[in-house]
């Protein structure tokens, strides 16, 4: 499961994904980091999918106020 604690928000997750893609496109990525990046990308995608579907505390808050 994705660690949600170190992902700030959807936008940040998306930016990080694009950053990974950029570094891949420009061949900046070290071979030693490939697995790490693959794992991270999966985490980020999972986080974003969840974010679009689950009701977070933040969302519940607007109904209380």
């Amino acid at each position: 499961m994705a660690k949600k604690t170190d992902i700030k928000n959807y936008e940040a997750a998306m930016e990080e994904l694009e950053e990974i893609l950029r570094s891949l496109e420009s061949n900046e990525l070290k071979i030693d980091d490939l697995t790490k990046n693959a794992k991270r990308a999966t985490e980020l995608v999972e986080y974003c999918k969840n974010k679009l579907r689950s009701t977070s505390e933040e969302l519940n808050k607007i109904m209380e106020s």
Partner: protein, 417 residues
């Protein structure tokens, strides 16, 4: 004298006003088309419509230069009302400019008034269009025309402030559509109830916007919807004040006002215009879907590239491995050839050596054969021994020594003299 004169020759108020009426009815016998602005309007229970018509100073809207009461009798009003509404999409209301056919009537009790017989809605339409153009021009001049539409949509757009009438069917459609979206996206919305049609719509919607502003951090987007009502009165959405508030609102506003005719000014300044509340919900769902599609495609692209890189490096490794193997094989072959060559060399050297040795041996053998005693003796040489030792010099001998002389076939013993 004056006083007596007055007393004898005066008119009663009624007589005087009857005179006025008589002159007026002669002078203004026919009907007239007049243009005016409605400053008051109310329908009575008896079906008559009472208005106050005014004309303002061209330069200063606060100066009223003409004013008269008007009435549309119920036998005209029913028809005029429907005709006007069909043509303009709006009811007669305060602030509207109208072109009406009137007759002047005068009552000794109520004074001057007009009786409206007919109306030309194209005049009002023209005026509304002119005002609309004016509103648009003003908003552009204010520099706020594109303010809301240039705001980025939140990522994601999940927290929605809804301005709608709580009881509108359109609101129900909107909620239903959002909650039952087939992708399972989660939305959270809060209703800010508002009147969305009629005279109070402008102030009511503006006040709803202010309420949303007070808790703006809780929302990503504002939705302004209207629908389900029978009336098509949309003048509020061309209002400058409302359009100005919408344009400057710091969150994107999506409209679903639901009407057939050209889009309203509020639609134009809003972030996104949808036709109906349902269409707004669809837009929000599609926005989420686009977001997710983007995330998934970036994720796939990353995985694709990662696997490409892995494949690429595997290929490089394979190539290197192959090169190493080829190198080793090459080296081994070279070594084998070298060994083979060495072996040949060694073999030929040995052969050479052996043949040399053989040759030497033959020479020696020849020498030996040449020098052998047997051969010499056969040629007539003989040798003598004293006490078993070969005598090499005569000095070794003295008289009386016994010596043995050897020949090819045998030996003889003799005494030295």
């Amino acid at each position: 004298m004056d006083v007596i004169d007055c007393v004898e020759n005066h008119l009663s108020l009624k007589e005087f006003l009857q005179n006025v009426k008589s002159v007026l009815s002669k002078s203004f016998a026919s009907s007239y088309w007049i243009s005016a602005e409605i400053s008051e309007i109310r329908e009575n229970a008896n079906g008559h419509c009472y208005l106050e018509l005014i004309e303002k100073n061209e330069n200063s809207q606060s100066i009223i230069e003409a004013k008269i009461r008007a009435i549309i009798y119920s036998n005209y009003y029913g028809m005029i009302k429907i005709f006007f509404q069909n043509e303009t999409g709006s009811e007669l209301k305060v602030g509207m400019k109208i072109l009406v056919k009137v007759t002047l009537s005068y009552s000794e009790i109520y004074g001057l008034s007009c009786s409206i017989l007919s109306i030309d809605p194209t005049f009002t339409l023209g005026d509304l269009a002119k005002r609309r153009r004016e509103t648009i021009r003003q908003l552009k001049e204010d520099g706020i025309w594109e303010m809301n539409s240039s705001l980025p949509l939140g990522v994601p757009t999940q927290r929605i402030a809804v301005i709608s009438s709580a009881t509108a069917a359109g609101y129900g459609d909107f909620c239903n559509q959002l909650e039952n979206n087939k992708y399972g996206f989660c939305f959270c919305y809060k209703l800010f109830p508002s009147i969305v049609q009629g005279d109070k719509a402008v102030s009511s919607i503006i006040s709803a916007l202010h309420s949303i502003f007070d808790e703006i951090d809780n929302f990503d987007v504002v939705v302004l919807i209207r629908g389900g009502g029978a009336t098509t009165d949309l003048l509020a959405f061309d209002d400058y004040d409302l359009a100005s508030e919408v344009a400057q609102f710091p969150l994107p506003i999506i409209t679903g006002i639901g009407h057939e005719r050209d889009e309203s000014v509020v639609d134009m300044v809003a972030h996104t215009r949808c036709k109906t509340p349902t269409a707004v919900a669809t837009f929000l769902i599609d926005t989420m879907l686009n977001l997710e599609t983007k995330v998934l495609s970036v994720g796939q692209e990353i995985m694709f590239r990662l696997s490409n890189i892995t494949t690429e490096y595997n290929q490089i490794l394979d190539k290197k491995l192959l090169l190493i193997k080829q190198n080793i094989a090459q080296r081994l072959l070279q070594e084998e050839v070298a060994i083979e060559r060495s072996m040949l060399h060694i073999r030929s050297l040995i052969k050479q050596k052996m043949s040399d040795e053989l040759h030497r041996l033959e020479l020696k053998e020849n020498t030996l054969t040449y020098l052998s005693p047997h051969r010499l003796m056969s040629m007539g040489y003989s040798f003598a021994t004293k006490n078993g030792k070969v005598i090499r010099s005569s000095k070794e001998l003295k008289s009386g020594d016994e010596i043995e002389t050897f020949f090819m076939d045998n030996s003889v013993t003799s005494i030295v003299k």
